[in-house]
Assembly symmetry: C2
Homo-oligomer: 210 residues x 2
């Protein structure tokens, strides 16, 4: 197996924390996103979406979506479980992960990609150029207060997002908060549950890996 990555970017970061929680060691190659490493012919041949992370499995399959990469690693390395311990718990983790991806990471990403000078002409990942859309910066920022509030409500009286166990949902929410710093957004003071949870999760060794 081999992981193509750029450790500080949010989607790779989700996978790195997941791998560290599992205690796995997977050979890595950094794709230099700062210098167009994702647009070289050799990388395009591997992943035409021109994104990282990519996990190349033992049989040569290239997985380019974090949910697929982590679900696969969960299946071949089940312990500790990070996608739930029972069918219903797994469903709750997946449900929450998809919500966080769309409404948390997705909101930050639309504000970030459409405002950052280095992403001019790249409002979406991939080989086709898409102009930045200033309205998406505003929309992305406007989406966040509702997301933080929902996260806070969810964490009321809970140590973790789903069923008293650290899971992929916690990883995704944590990375959303880190990523939000890139656009200078942060969780409001009044979301005390999120702050308590964030501080606790920050102390996990997996978080400090990179």
């Amino acid at each position: 197996m081999k992981l193509y990555t750029f450790a500080s970017a949010p989607n790779p970061r989700r996978v790195h924390i997941f791998i560290a929680e599992k205690g796995l060691v997977i050979p890595e190659e950094t794709v230099d996103l700062m210098n167009g490493g994702q647009f070289t012919d050799s990388f395009k041949a591997l992943n035409p979406h021109c994104t990282v992370p990519v996990l190349v499995t033992e049989d040569g399959t290239c997985l380019s979506q974090v949910s697929a990469i982590c679900s696969y690693l969960e299946e071949i390395h089940p312990n500790p479980p990070l996608y739930g311990r029972t069918a219903i718990e797994r469903a709750r983790v997946r449900d929450m992960c998809h919500w966080i991806y769309m409404d948390g990471i997705g909101a930050v990403a639309e504000a970030f990609r459409n405002s950052t000078p280095g992403f001019k002409g790249r409002s979406l990942p991939g080989q086709v150029s898409y102009d930045q859309i200033p309205e998406l910066v505003e929309r992305g920022r406007k989406r966040l207060p509702g997301f933080w509030k929902a996260l806070d409500a969810r964490l009321e009286g809970r140590e973790f997002l789903v069923d008293q166990h650290f899971s992929m949902a916690d990883i995704d929410a944590f990375v959303t908060i880190e990523f939000a710093r890139w656009i200078k957004e942060s969780v409001p003071e009044e979301c005390a549950n999120v702050h308590r949870w964030f501080e606790q999760v920050s102390r996990r060794p997996s978080i400090k890996t990179d």
Copy 2:
């Protein structure tokens, strides 16, 4: 179990085809999206995201994300498998499903929601109002040719998208094509592999369910 749905909308449609392929019968209640049924207090209490489908499981868990709903049904009703037969096949199905969701369904959705008069002030689902962004109509349409071309390349010499078996990936790609009709977009003639595959999938009894 109970499914809250609006059968003709694309995300419910994915679940309905999945359920029909499994041969399951799940009690349903239609949420009248045409008349704001998703914004009633009772439905908001069930799903604050104000979206369908929602699957309420035996223990009262509300699942509101299609990937979680279908993964859960797959787990409790494994046959026929629609998320792959082996760990690597499951990874390939999930990888493709996420790509189709983001680059296929997502592209159509941004063109549709930002152009349709009935979605004025609702460029995103949920309780918060977001103005339509005309640039997203153009961007959504511009994304589709690349998506059809990638789908066509994938289907070269293949009966189904992943590993010779009908899977959730085929369901998601099929629904993308149906959904694209809502914005009068269609697969170009030259994508002969997609047309061949679409015609074959259209004949499945599950497709005719609704």
